[in-house]
Amino acid sequence: MSTHYTSLAIDDPTKLVFGHAPNPFTLRRGMVLGGGLVYPEINFTLPPMLIEAGTMNKVCTEYRQMITGVLKRAAELESPGVLVEFETLPPMTEHPDWGMQIVNILLDAMEEAHAKDGLASALRMTPNDNREMVRPPQMRSGIYWEGMLELFDRSAAAGAELLSIESVGGKELHDDALTMGDMQGSIFGLSVLGARDMKFLWTHIVEIAKRHGVHAAGDTACGFGNTAMVLAEQKMIPRVFAAVVRAVTAVRSLVAYECGAVGPGKDCGYENPILKAITGFPMSMEGKCASCAHFSPMGNLAAACCDTWSNESIQNVKLLGGMAPTMSMEQLIYDCRLMNVALGEGPKEVLKLRDWFVASDDSLDPQAYILRPDCCVQLAQAIISKDTPYTAARHVGLTAIDILRQAHADKSLKLSDRELPWLDTMTDTIQEMPDDENVLAQQVIATTEPGRFLPAEYGLTS
């Protein structure tokens, strides 16, 4: 059963704020997501090392050290709670036994911190989408599909309360679309291939979550929107192109909620505020504290509508202050403290802080501008006004271009001269695309070299 959203949970931009979601929910240790507090969400990863049977002891030692360090600091700083994300590395999903060894280390440490210091916490489990380890990717069966489902299932049974993934369906064509500046290819990858795969994948994840009484949280179009963002940051593609791609990614990520996910959407989904406006579910976000993993042009603005505040990922290396994950935990907690003080003061103060977050970034980059709360509501409205992901994608793409054009015209956003022609190019491309996605699909199948993707894995016939 899937829901098709036809109205917005938040249609007033002043209600799209951090810490409050129309549909909050409570985790086992009492943390209420979207219920008036922002929680830190910590994620960490290994320093340079191999993961194989012979190094698993060392791998476990690293994770034990990381989780102990971050929880200790969270307790010392009296954080009202912590969300821990375990984003596995590929071999840990390929060999679910290895992934589970670490899940148990994390859960044991979280249990101990609760018993000893009263620290509330919950685990978000993010297995890898390894389906593209074979080329062309095999999306609906095979060892990678099986391993991923097994790790979801076993970690949920062991106590992980939130299930997430950075899924990759459609990426095999989208990467080239990004480097070629091809908006039609991007929309096809996201809303035809991507949306179809999301429906298949999230139907399974939601079913696993239900079986174990845990929450299917949400996905992210990281491999699409963040790849575009990183490429734009490196001046490889225009920022306006990355901004429009970001708007379109919301169509793909929305499918998880249509299938029954309840949030919080995964941290690196910078499109999450648009999804919060549509679904009313709490969302995780990352910004300045994630520059340990990658740069972004919206370090403050990203916090405007968050319900958990994340660092994306940090390596376990030693810094002057201590181990890097512990340092990252401290940064997140201080950011959350500030937001929570505003939440305690009342709606006016929340809006004031939110608007400062927004105003400090929005005029400097189109990718930030497009995610202003008022723009998010506009984009969300564009998405729900259409019946299918493909039609929604084209419409939200054009809406995003209009927003940027208008903002440049009224000088609230400065676009460089070499960016401007891309607005017209993207408009023309989207307008000239076929109205029927099946027509486009057949065009793509006919012109793509065989072996790049398997149409049948997306329910397409050639």
Binding site: M49, P90, P91, D175, P238
Partner: protein, 209 residues
């Protein structure tokens, strides 16, 4: 005489149809194939330089690369007849366990633009496959890319496999977000490049030595 300056311009602007047409005309007019190739490479060098200076984006650079690729398809048979050998044959890939390939693809594209013969092995490439490809294509340049801290050690595995073969004159260049010059030194790679444009300079330098 064909206008080779115009060919350079067509490559720079990525005009595929005009670049291919002029290449054919130049051949028909008896231009020396090497001279035609040089005109194209000059065009791609300018494109690479403009990219380095943030004057153009990757899509514009790729359009130029496509024009060059199509013009090369016309030129290649004539070049081969003259006994022409590319500056080098390079084998490139993302190491085992790693699927990140955008950076690697850009390096590959830039190397092609510099008229290297590039064999791209794709992603998740095991050490044996690198070694087999070096042998099969007589490669003198190897490019390794890794983006994950946990696949960096796979570069060492490839280095060990290459060094175990006693290849003569095979140089290895490595890169990727977590890679540093220190790491290259540590695993015995010949060079490190921080980005795609410097990967061309680094490769040229390695091959000149």
């Amino acid at each position: 005489m064909a206008n080779l300056n115009a060919l350079t311009e067509f490559i720079k602007s990525g005009n595929r149809s005009k670049a291919t047409k002029l290449t054919q005309e130049a051949l028909d007019a008896g231009e020396v194939p090497q001279g035609i190739l040089d005109a194209m490479v000059v065009g791609m060098d300018v494109v690479g330089e403009r990219f380095k200076c943030n004057e153009i984006f990757v899509p514009e650079m790729l359009i130029a690369a496509r024009a060059m690729k199509e013009a090369m398809a016309i030129l290649e048979p004539a070049l081969v007849k003259t006994g022409y050998k590319p500056i080098a044959t390079a084998v490139i890939g993302t190491v085992q366990g790693d699927l990140h390939d955008i950076g690697k693809n850009l390096v590959s594209m830039m190397w092609k633009g510099a008229s290297f013969n590039v064999v791209d092995l794709g992603v998740n490439v095991p050490a044996e496959k690198f070694v087999a490809a070096i042998k099969e294509h007589n490669a003198t340049l190897v490019g390794l890319s890794a983006l994950l801290t946990t696949t960096m050690p796979a570069m060492q595995t490839v280095m060990d496999a290459i060094r175990a073969e006693d290849f003569v004159g095979v140089k290895v260049l490595i890169g990727g977000a977590p890679i540093t010059q220190n790491y290259a030194d540590q695993i015995g790679a010949d060079a490190f490049a921080a980005d795609a444009a410097s990967a061309v300079d680094a490769a040229r330098k390695l091959l000149a030595n």
